[in-house]
Symmetry: C2
Subunit: 287 residues, 2 copies
Amino acid sequence: MTDDDFRLTIVGVGLLGGSVAKAIRRGHPHVHVRGVSRRPSTLERALDAGVIDQGFEHLADACVDSDVVVIATPVDRLAGYVIQAANHSPAECLITDVGSTKAGIVDDVGDDANAAAKFVAAHPIAGSEKTGVENATDDLFDGKVIILTPTAANRPAVREKADQFWRATGGRCLEMTPEEHDDRLAAISHVPHLMSSLVAKLTDPESLPLAGSGWRDITRVAAGDPEMWTAICQQNRSAVLDQLRRCADELKVLHQWIETRDDAELCRWLADAQAVRWRSDESDAGG
Amino acid sequence: MTDDDFRLTIVGVGLLGGSVAKAIRRGHPHVHVRGVSRRPSTLERALDAGVIDQGFEHLADACVDSDVVVIATPVDRLAGYVIQAANHSPAECLITDVGSTKAGIVDDVGDDANAAAKFVAAHPIAGSEKTGVENATDDLFDGKVIILTPTAANRPAVREKADQFWRATGGRCLEMTPEEHDDRLAAISHVPHLMSSLVAKLTDPESLPLAGSGWRDITRVAAGDPEMWTAICQQNRSAVLDQLRRCADELKVLHQWIETRDDAELCRWLADAQAVRWRSDESDAGG
């Protein structure tokens, strides 16, 4: 990766894929970036934006002699592309991704020994409500956590390369198992997203002029792509269902306290929530 | 209110009460602002910040010869202060508030004919996660909706004065009944707040380093004062409980779709939520 002719292939050249390319180019000005998309218009926009050096409609053509391949597609199509990329890339190639779910993908890739050796799954905790390669930035990952979920099947050199590569984007790498990733993310991202959508869904449009900054903050992520979030929920079904059950149980208790005028319990519960929120501000300051 | 010696009394000199004073002073530089607080230190800070001209520990002393009294205390103590202010102010005095609930307060005040004549309840849809008079700003209400819930008991001149007064803060007045206010606010503010707290409450603190901007946005209001929000839930109990039941019903359906892999329904539901959120951006642009 210190080579002048370092070759990076990005499959799915949107906000995340484009930002990976720009972040890497910042520290590696001679990197050669190839973009893969089924849509010629996407490749043209990526070329125009200076994000990629060369566009490909076929993944196989773009992966030949690549050093790193990043799959930045919706999670339900990810494993298939990883296996294809593994079939058409050199033995020492690193294949990684930016998907929001991990266990199902790592499992599916695990059925193919060659792909399993090359694939180190990654989830950068970074994003934007904006989409498209035009909104890609070279600092999207600066200081952000990148979760890596390496497995025993990984070639050691590839695992080391994954760590180097993601640090080169500006992120901070954190390792865990795919299962731990999915459990934690269901609770801190996937189900919170559903709660945000729930609040928006239950809002009478006629009340919108009365929406304050609280409603706007809570529902911001509800603007996210429905297909992308459907795929995330389905890929992480069991952890999402567990967490939805916890929400339902908590709602029941909350309802009871308000119904029975148990102000003391309600206030304690709100204070517990406040404490978690405050703690998150501290962990920001520390990061 | 065009008089040089217009006298304004603010009961509860925090972020909201202080911002009302500063907003009014912008257009009425000769206004005389009196602050009421049981805590001398609060009055000193308000005097130091130039928000009030004179501090009072007793509401009665501050209301004598006042033109307008604004009660900016927690909602569970509001009606009592309105009645006290009515007892000690001139007949043509306007008494108004900034409380997040309306029906219970208007009802309680309604038992006192003198207070009912003078009190036009108001809810400015404006706020900040910051608190305290130091964070008060003169533009907090600019372009924001101020919900007024006048009643048949109001003296007509007082009702007209309420409209003038709140427009003078920079806000846009919108009238509805106290009951409609409470129903709409339960759905667009009070229960969304509880959902934000729910997301924070169910977060394992060890997962906080994995929190992205989505979690942060959703949980921002969970940092709000637990006592204040307990009082809001209790003051608006019945509408809050109705809305919590709707949340529970919706969660059940959502759980079922994910469990039975009904991607089409899940995606449609997410798209409905997205549409509401988009519509809110349009109503912002229009406002």
